[in-house]
Assembly symmetry: C3
Homo-oligomer: 161 residues x 3
């Protein structure tokens, strides 16, 4: 066998290897496979370490945040001042969680807003718009009661771009 | 050095290049990179231009819709006729938003249904099934109150196929 | 032309072929394309065949589950024993749906918990933690009423890894 015979056979094998790689990529990258990175992040708030939920769960480029209420996490008490104060604190809590992952409010794509009194709709809405001028998709309603007597709870989904 | 020595070295280098490409793909395609397209679409309803939420937010091939109620958006008033009329209008509103993006009701994969009275469950359910015979995943409950006195609000997630 | 000339040309062509494959992958895998597999799975519970929703909808590697309540699906009645029994049954129902798709509770990334009485928060929470020690993101509130008089409903999103 001459040298270019070896070359030809090598090239054939190499071509087969190259042909295979797209298939491998599909398998590796398809969301049904190992490739989707899921991380249940620990809270940056020391007092939330024992909470039975993560502040934020990373799934590929999508981030699911737990519902936040108007709680000052350094003391674990609701802020005083009614719906305006609680809405502001809730949104600041979301911003703080996002910031831990180099995400911003503008990366929020979807929000679920749960009030405990529909009459607080206008008050919450005014503050909300300042934090989310880019207009994530949103659903809002009033529940019967929120945990810890909160007046508002907001859950968001963010996406890294 | 003979010609096939060059060939061998070339093949080695090429093989390394081929080996590298899957890694590049991962980097390019991973959702943590620039690749995920996020679009906060403007509403097709002129009177909704000032709403603090987008009717629909596009994230790659996933579309998050805001909760819809049984509102006639040309007049911004709830339709009359109770739960049946509102359910129908709500679903028509969803269909209209999807149609703006060449999506259909069959592309809806998940629905959150919020009633204001659990006794309306059967009436809503009968109409709902006609619009979603392909059976998206669903969660339903009755809240205390919905915005604008609506009897039903439906939020969906759609996926382009 | 000598043998290594053929080799050189072959290598060039091969290199071009290798260069092309990443582009093909991007086109095939982009979420805006045909590639996302969406499956509305039939329930494994014979008595749920007529339900107007799927227990679970598969979207690529993401699985949207319908809200589950503490129902024994073999008899289609709520289990007796109050919030503890219903919470346990609800979570077992979720586990059973996941198991049909070779998924586990640890694959749940996000939960929405709807109670019918916020005073049941502590009781539900204690059992919940046993099933989800890995801490999915979570939002919890009390609605006015749940379907079929249930005391708890839990909706989850799972991701295959």
């Amino acid at each position: 066998m001459k040298s270019y015979h070896y070359t030809f056979i090598s090239l054939l094998l190499l071509a087969m290897a190259c042909q295979d790689s797209p298939k491998d990529d599909v398998r590796d990258l398809a969301p049904t496979q190992e490739q989707t990175q899921v991380i249940f992040h620990k809270s940056h708030e020391p007092l939330k370490a024992s909470a039975p939920f993560s502040d934020i769960v990373e799934v590929g480029g999508t981030y699911y945040l737990s519902g936040q209420i108007g709680m000052d996490h350094s003391t674990r008490t609701l802020v005083e001042g009614g719906i305006e104060a609680e809405t502001r604190q809730t949104l600041e809590n979301i911003k703080a969680v996002l910031a831990q992952h180099e995400l911003q409010m503008r990366d929020v794509v979807k929000a679920l807003v749960v009030l405990d009194d529909i009459d607080n709709f206008a008050a919450f809405n005014e503050i909300y718009q300042v934090y989310f001028p880019h207009k994530p998709a949103r659903t809002t309603f009033a529940a019967a009661h929120l945990a810890r007597g909160a007046k508002i709870e907001i859950e968001v989904v963010a996406v890294r771009r």
